[in-house]
């Protein structure tokens, strides 16, 4: 027992190793590329899987550590100074609290299964080892992001996940569409990251330069925290608010929110996410559904004290989240590409999470992040299994009736669909309804929009299910059988997808730890009035009914019987249909904007650069050159002239010397 406790303690103390394992795996795979040993493809897979597995063990012990502490988890924070310049002392470290433990568990668990699945999916791809190197690189960045102690460190890892995402979206870079999608994702994220960086710098400005160095006193009182520490934000936010007033403060909060806006695909920086589906499907599952896109929500959670301080920023966050949920759901309704439909569904669910953060339902938002990671990863993996079986066909119109050929995939997809629709006490039910309860307390409009979105969610998800798995097969490709390497992770993921919500809800199993107990935002000094979530009250009932309406609508329109012809609605609601099929014209507006404004200004600045800036540079060079050729005339090469000049100048200098020393 003591041995056990000792080793558990060791694993907790060395939690920083969790991101280091995948980093080692990446380096080994990349450096060992030329070795003969690596002709065995599985070696890179084993290295990556092993690194993630070690991380998972750490995460499990961290969970045990957290549950062992009861409701008030005392966070472990360790910082190491990286570089310091005056008042600004940047540090790296690790922060272990309930939020990071939860994310550690999700990331390691989901990526472990996805890495195993990848073996089946990418077996015949030429870039097998490279893919695993990138996967491990992503894991390193994501786990580093999760364990970050301060805003600066999270920004570093934030960019690193962006790079990994870029590399993986453009993995099949010989396809022009994939290369374009990768660049688009990168650019869109740059826009958000820029805002994020400016937000951080604003915060630094108001705490360091403007009105005395606030950190000095704070860090003296809290030696375990570092400059820009998340745990210090609770004290920093009121201080800044007091100094700068609500307007500037709200702007600062929204600048920080621009990071999540791009990374979590919120309006209006969302257009990269559907395009990112050009990457291999395991990537869509891991990065663009379960983990990286959720990092935005995680960051909002980490910087929550800032948002709590400014109610106007919270309103904007809530409204943006809700709008994203609705817009994405309406687009998903008309998608025929199975991955695109799932991508818009992800965007919509992220909208839910952000809206939850905005309305103050902190733990509900993170709970939805938690449950969503499982079922959305599983849904994407199912779609990958389908695409793989149908010889790279992604169009749902050319699928149908796949239930017989792909039974495990079909059943797990159904489980995921039920979970995301929030039916029958599955995971999605608990988390989504908690968000709805929070929204109901905050604003009726947001509540009704989210409720409507829940209905749409159920409709489009069951639509994809019916189109893909039921009815008659409509494609030409020969359908292969399922690969056991690919369906085993699906079956494993189905369990948390269905049950983890109920397990951690705190209602079904009263003795079991509840998610909202551990992950909640406590306002210091104020007794936390928890949302009393009653599973049998009006709101969950309403949302279930709405979800059932969506299910039946999908069944009648796309089910095996086809009672209602979808074309009728298409004609009837032509304007809405056009809006949806054209993705609310976001891409067209952006293209137009780039074409008409960005390109013009780019051309002007290019001209300015080539004529004015280059002119200045070349002018300087020309001046030096002409000066040099002028001076060259003095260099006659005759020794006696030099000597004469030497003695003449010595003579003059000594005269001057004598004159001054006289």
């Amino acid at each position: 027992m003591t041995d056990m406790a000792q080793s558990a303690g060791w694993l907790i103390d060395n939690i920083w190793m969790v991101p280091v394992y995948p980093l080692i795996a990446t380096v080994l795979i990349i450096l060992g590329r030329g070795l003969n040993l690596y002709k065995i493809k599985e070696l890179s897979m084993s290295l990556t899987v092993l690194s993630t597995f070690c991380g998972l063990i750490h995460a499990l012990f961290a969970l045990q550590w957290m549950f062992g502490q009861g409701e008030h988890v005392v966070p472990i924070e360790q910082n190491y100074v990286w570089l310091s310049a005056g008042a600004i002392q940047l540090s790296m470290g690790y922060l272990l609290d309930s939020m990071s433990v939860m994310m550690l568990f999700v990331v390691t668990f989901v990526s472990l299964l996805i890495q195993i699945y990848t073996h089946g999916y990418m077996k015949h791809d030429a870039g097998y080892s490279k893919f695993y190197a990138y996967l491990a690189l992503f894991n390193f960045s994501m786990l580093g992001l999760v364990l970050s102690t301060n805003l600066f460190q999270i920004y570093v890892f934030w960019e690193l996940v962006g790079v990994s995402s870029y590399l993986l979206i453009g993995f099949w870079f010989t396809r022009p569409s994939a290369a374009k999608a990768a660049v688009k994702a990168f650019m869109m994220n740059r826009v958000g990251d820029f805002g994020f960086l400016v937000g951080i710098l604003t915060l630094v400005y108001f705490t360091v330069i403007d009105g005395g160095n606030w950190w000095q006193q704070h860090l003296a009182a809290n030696p375990d925290q570092a400059f820009l520490s998340f745990r210090a934000l609770g004290d920093a936010a009121p201080y800044i608010m007091e100094n700068v007033g609500p307007l500037i403060f709200a702007i600062m909060a929204l600048l920080i929110f621009m990071g999540p806006m791009a990374k979590s695909a919120q309006l209006p920086l969302h257009t990269w996410l559907p395009d990112a589906m050009e990457g291999p499907t395991p990537i869509s599952a891991l990065i663009h559904a379960a983990t990286m896109v959720a990092a935005g929500v995680y960051l909002v959670g980490r910087t929550y004290p800032i948002f709590m301080e400014s109610s106007s920023a919270m309103v904007i966050v809530a409204v943006l989240g809700t709008a994203t949920a609705l817009v994405a759901a309406t687009i998903a309704v008309t998608q025929v590409d199975i991955k695109k439909a799932l991508a818009y569904s992800t965007m919509s669910q992220l909208g839910y999470m952000v809206a939850a953060m905005g309305v103050g339902a902190f733990s509900a938002g993170l709970f939805h992040l938690f449950t969503h990671a499982f079922f959305k990863a599983m849904l994407f993996l199912c779609s990958g299994s389908v695409i793989h079986a149908c010889e790279d066909e992604q169009d749902m119109r050319k699928m149908g009736g796949l239930m017989k050929k792909l039974p495990v995939t079909g059943w797990t997809y159904l489980a995921g669909t039920v979970a995301i629709s929030g039916l029958a006490y599955t995971s999605g039910f608990w988390s989504k309804d908690e968000i709805l309860v929070g929204a109901h307390d905050y604003s009726q409009i947001i509540y009704y929009v989210l409720l409507f979105t829940a209905g749409l969610t159920s409709f489009y998800m069951f639509r994809t299910y019916f189109m893909t798995f039921l009815g008659k097969y409509r494609g030409e490709a020969h359908v292969h059988h399922e690969d056991p390497v690919m369906v085993t992770p699906l079956a494993i993921l189905a369990i948390p997808s269905l049950f983890i919500g109920a397990l951690l809800s705190g209602i079904v199993f009263p003795g079991w730890p509840a998610f909202s107990q551990y992950i909640a935002y406590h306002v210091p000094g104020v007794e936390h009035a928890a949302h009393h979530f009653d599973a049998f009250s009006g709101i969950p009932l309403t949302s279930t009914i709405v979800a059932l309406i969506g299910l039946f609508a999908a069944f009648f329109m796309y089910g095996p019987m086809r009672v209602i012809d979808p074309d009728m609605f298409r004609r009837l609601l032509a304007p809405l249909y056009n809006l949806s099929i054209n993705k609310w014209y976001f891409d067209d507006i952006y293209d137009n904007f780039v074409e008409n404004y960005c390109m013009v200004s780019a051309k002007v600045s290019s001209w300015f650069d080539r004529t004015v800036i280059d002119g200045l540079v070349n002018g300087t060079a020309l001046m030096v050159m002409s000066g040099g050729s002028g001076m060259r005339q003095l260099q006659s090469g005759k020794v006696q002239v030099y000597l004469g000049a030497l003695f003449f100048s010595v003579f003059i200098l000594s005269l001057a010397f004598i004159y001054w020393l006289r």
Partner: protein
């Protein structure tokens, strides 16, 4: 040796050194032959030597540092003359002349 009966002081030595130095300088500036340039250089060096010895006697005659310096300079200038002559011979083999104005390799 007592030179006081001739009433020769520091000034005389300095004047002598200056004359020697100026002759050397003029020689260097005007001659075209490298050998002569080298000889004039030696002349200037000896002017310096005279200065050293004279000032040593004038300032603190007990210590012979100026004399030692003069001897060092003589030695070094002997070595230097050897090297200089060797260079001149090498140059002569290249250019078939000892005219200073022809040695303008430093000029581009």
């Amino acid at each position: 040796m007592d030179l006081s009966i001739f009433n020769i002081g520091l000034t005389h030595f300095i004047v002598l050194a200056t004359i020697l130095f100026s002759i050397g300088l003029l020689g260097i500036m005007t001659s075209r032959n490298v050998i002569r340039v080298l000889m004039c250089l030696e002349l200037m060096m000896n002017a310096v030597n005279i200065n050293f010895v004279a000032f040593n006697n004038y300032l603190n005659p007990e210590i012979l540092s100026g004399h030692v310096f003069a001897i060092f300079i003589l030695t070094v200038s002997a070595a230097e003359a050897a090297v200089g002559l060797a260079i001149i011979i090498a140059l002569y083999r290249q250019k078939r002349t000892v005219d200073v104005d022809e040695f303008n390799l430093l000029k581009l």
